[in-house]
Symmetry: C5
Subunit: 307 residues, 5 copies
């Protein structure tokens, strides 16, 4: 990893007095590379217990502490978790940086989704201070095309401003979803989501990877996001080989990194660590998928599609 | 019961200056055992009059004072009641500790439930001070899977934070319920509810016991709750023998206690007291159901399933 | 009427500094008897013009001033009116005490009712001060079983607390009503409403009288209300004889008084006064219906059922 | 017009310190007669362009300035307009007094109407001060019987209180309307609306004239409004003769004046002025319709029913 | 362009202390001509990616920076963009003035549209200060005839007041739209929208051009807007010749300018610049469409109808 930080552009709503803090959060989150490996751990609300228990899932995963044990020693940019998990576990796992995922919803309801704030920016900052962990930013999910999209876009706007005002980074998850969204994986709608992210002023946007996963589609999306950096979910392929090769395509076409969750925490601590080291090598050190796969013992197919 | 308090982990949003108060509330609520026997008395709103009057219900139960007479002398951790009952009766029954149940709804409406706040954390604290009773914590119900789950999760989050900020414990009742919830008693969805509780930062979560009531199911749920302690409703069996044996299974598999309501207050003061003494012996002193049942005169079948 | 006040229990959220005021309002409202004769005058919003004009209604009743002329000299506990009526007429009729009915709705809409606040507690207090009339308390209607019950229960809770904080009494009207309420006159659901009233901390609850109007049903309801006092609408019988005898049953079985509206103000000043004197004799002096009926000239059948 | 003001009754929520201002606004609005000729100019939002352009409408009316040119020199009590019109034109037409109509909606939507606030009382006062025009009061429309009636009644209540607190008059437009309102012109429902107006504390209520337009119906409505003064729309007849005779009936039966809009501003400045002078003579000087009609050159039939 | 500013009328809610700033913003926005050439760049949220990528669209347009490169050197009055774009790009393109478009929605949802605020007036001002660009005003879209029109009219009212209070101009986009709007292009409904704009107090209103595009229709609309200036979308014709001739009709009939978006930014920087120079010559210098078309190399048909 590089010894000196990358140069960054500040969004104009980061006040002068907070630029230094914003910059250090940026370097922290990207390991001074400008790229992001985000370990997403918000599924305990989003997907309830099915992501954490069952055939093919390491039995350690049912305990919330497993996620933190993985995050603690790995070269990730940050672990993204809801407020309560950060409140209970963050104080004991302080080697990793955190992104507090501010809103959440379960997967029990059909139809147009809405995800409401469970904590505010100020509350995330206060928690980090009391718990003694480093908070690099905040996260928020927008379901574009839901009849509730307006509420979520408005709330995200406010959160981005508040984060910037405090020198934090703002990461938005934007998923087109709802009864009026025909194809969530279409490059056009994902590029549209990217355009919304930059229009709201986000620093990073987490998007689904488009299908088909072509260089042209990725480039279209990354370009449409403008100064907002794009991270994709780590690919929907089933085998480690394909996951890593998908990511290689994304990175080569301009993606700024990867956000990955289930494909990591459903594994044993050892296996999850191998995966994360592999991803880190690709993201931070430009290693190829082939180099990474040959070096690491990652060959078990992943049971689930990555979120 | 033990002479010295158990060691506890503080959620990080309990400020340093309130840790001592939080700890004493924790010891008060768990009788220094780390385990909880909660007497739930919120049914006057939740179930209206049918829980308090009718065949098989002791006629004393129709008067709200009956509940307080039971609570007053018994070795329970706390009595959970709505604000108004605490306002009228708490001042006269100050030997028990209280948990103010902050939200409530009746059972008159079909469809997706919503339970709204009837009092805030600060109002509960002010009431306790004016009435002279000990307030150990606050309670809040979330109906997961209801179309209103987002409002309740957001409100619960805020209440948990406010409770912790004031050194109080936060107990959430989480019941998956609504037109999109198929099986409220499934271990998977109850384990999901447990995961939501810890993701919100609750201290205790009250859950329905899963069906089938197996050690494996209980363990799955308790583990998924992580650092949030789990108490179950006292079992759905009809006879005292089965109720106590169900609880024994739960406790042995890791549950932190029992929350029980109708199965207690529908009985005469004497009978209710016997039941509570029995439960206390199991919860605080690790007595077996058999020991308890043989010692106490509890053999009348309970008419209702416990909530 | 008694010369010295009855002893009262203070709800705990009446602050020490306001107990004296609360007590004097209690004595004022109950004429030092602990019992309440409430003259309800909120129908101008609730029922629009049909309660005030038409066959069998004294023509004076169409003018809002008629109600105040009746209230002014009669031994009622208080006249319950909406803010605007109190604003226009209260200053000129200051011999009676008032309860400001804070919320209201018309009868034009079918389906699940909602009644919204038209004035707050502080505004009622300010009005009374400026107008120079005595404000003994505030009133609020909850339609239990309406899909909007949660909003009304929450608002009522807040109003009860605010009233107590200012030394005022809080009277809740609780009517089970809406598409999911099958039998509004059933003792069970009315007893449930009584239990909600005490769970919210109300001082008085106005309920419909149950059908059948038996001692047992009344007792069940009164007992379920605990420390909250119950007043019923004055009976649904058509003749004066039956109205007074129904009230006698209610009082004998434990009701704390009567709330009556249309059956009074639809009459001429003289006739209305006779009725109120009769009710006062029963409520405050334990006279029997027979004593009252023989003494007064009340024999014209009442055209409407009392609300 | 009289040389000395009429005596008025103050609603009790006009504070002592604002009585002098309230009184001067009352005298201004009623030209010291206690009666009101209100020129209503809120149709640009309420009816969009169809009231201002088309066959039978003077072509000057399409320009908003036409309304102000009419209002400026005429003996009206006030011109009622929305905030934006007052902001652009009020500064240049300061001879007339104004009532700012605070809420508004278009006529594009079927079903139950809701009209939301476009400006608050304080904002209307600030505007008047900056623009240099005299603000006599504020206006607000309630659609009774709409499923949104509760929101509008609550908001109107608040506005009436705020207006009184600032020494302004409050005029409510109350129109029963919506899918549950069968006959908007029935005397009973209009009398009900009058009763709502006084229950909210309004100074004036603008109502539709009942059908049939009989003395008995008008009296019923005016009496039901109690201390709130009633002004009707200027009659629904088509010819000038009938309009003026309808108004004569209303005034004779107790109405406090007229609110008229389209029937004035759709005419040329000269013709509109003749009409207003005629109305002023009837309202302020008790002239008969016959006297007025013979003196003025008003004989062209009015194309529209008056709102 | 003229050397000295045009005289303006101040809306009365621009405080005296802010008139100088309002005036300089007015001169800035209209290049001292009283006319407006607005470059609209809010489509990244409104239309997602389809306006920026695909056949017939210059490939540079997919990158948000393209829009700013066009705006930066051109004689436009202002570039209208959402907050986030201004936050990322405004600091680097400071030669143009900006209008922050405060609300937004995507095009994914059918039915009655609602567009919610993504930033407030104060936040736009703060951003401009921090970024160092000139903010001439704010923009807001109202969908008239949508069931949500009331919320948008109320919010627009507030924004107009806040803008004026800060010396900024307020531009409203008013589009009749929703299931109850039959013909969005009808002169009557567009004239109605113009009347709403002036009733809310807006400085400029952006409207669709009516069909048919006749002088009479344009005059009707412009006159109905009164002191609010009207700018139309640049015509719906497909060839450059027709677009420019449509604009000529509008300007000649009284329109105060043009708001144009897609028809500019979908072109290469060179071509877009030619178009804007042509429009500027027509708007600011009264050049004819013919003069402009012969001078400039604009002859490629425009692929899309202008918004």
């Amino acid at each position: 990893m590089p010894n000196h930080p990358t140069k960054i552009i500040y969004p104009a709503d980061v006040p002068k007095a907070k630029r230094s803090l914003y910059n250090s959060n940026w370097q922290l989150l990207t390991k001074k590379t400008g790229r992001l490996l985000l370990l997403a751990g918000d599924q305990r609300i989003e997907h309830l217990n099915s992501d954490f228990f069952g055939p093919g899932i390491d039995q350690a995963d049912n305990d919330p502490e497993h996620f933190f044990q993985i995050a603690d020693k790995m070269p990730i940019g940050a672990a993204a978790v809801h407020y309560g998990l950060a409140s209970w576990y963050g104080q004991h796992y302080r080697r990793t940086a955190y992104v507090i995922k501010l809103n959440g919803k379960t997967n029990l309801l059909p139809g147009d989704p809405i995800s409401r704030c469970l904590a505010g920016v100020g509350q995330a900052i206060a928690l980090a201070k009391q718990a003694g962990f480093r908070l690099a930013g905040v996260g928020y999910t927008i379901y574009l095309g839901s009849q509730h999209e307006g509420q979520m876009m408005a709330e995200a706007s406010e959160i981005i401003r508040q984060a910037h005002a405090q020198g934090l980074l703002a990461i938005v998850w934007i998923y087109p979803k709802g009864v009026n969204v025909k194809n969530e994986n279409d490059a056009e709608i994902i590029a549209g989501a990217a355009g919304v992210a930059v229009s709201l002023g986000a620093d990073f946007v987490k998007l689904k990877a488009p299908k088909p996963l072509t260089v042209k589609n990725i480039q279209r999306i990354v370009q449409a996001a403008g100064k907002t950096k794009v991270v994709f979910a780590g690919g929907s392929s089933r085998t480690a080989g394909q996951v890593f090769k998908d990511i290689q395509v994304q990175l080569a076409a301009g993606a700024a990194g990867v956000a990955i969750g289930r494909n990591i925490h459903q594994r044993s601590l050892t296996e999850a660590s191998n995966w994360l080291r592999g991803l880190a090598a690709m993201i931070y050190e430009q290693k190829t998928a082939e180099q990474v796969l040959s070096r690491l013992k990652i060959n078990k197919p992943s049971r689930h599609k990555i979120k």
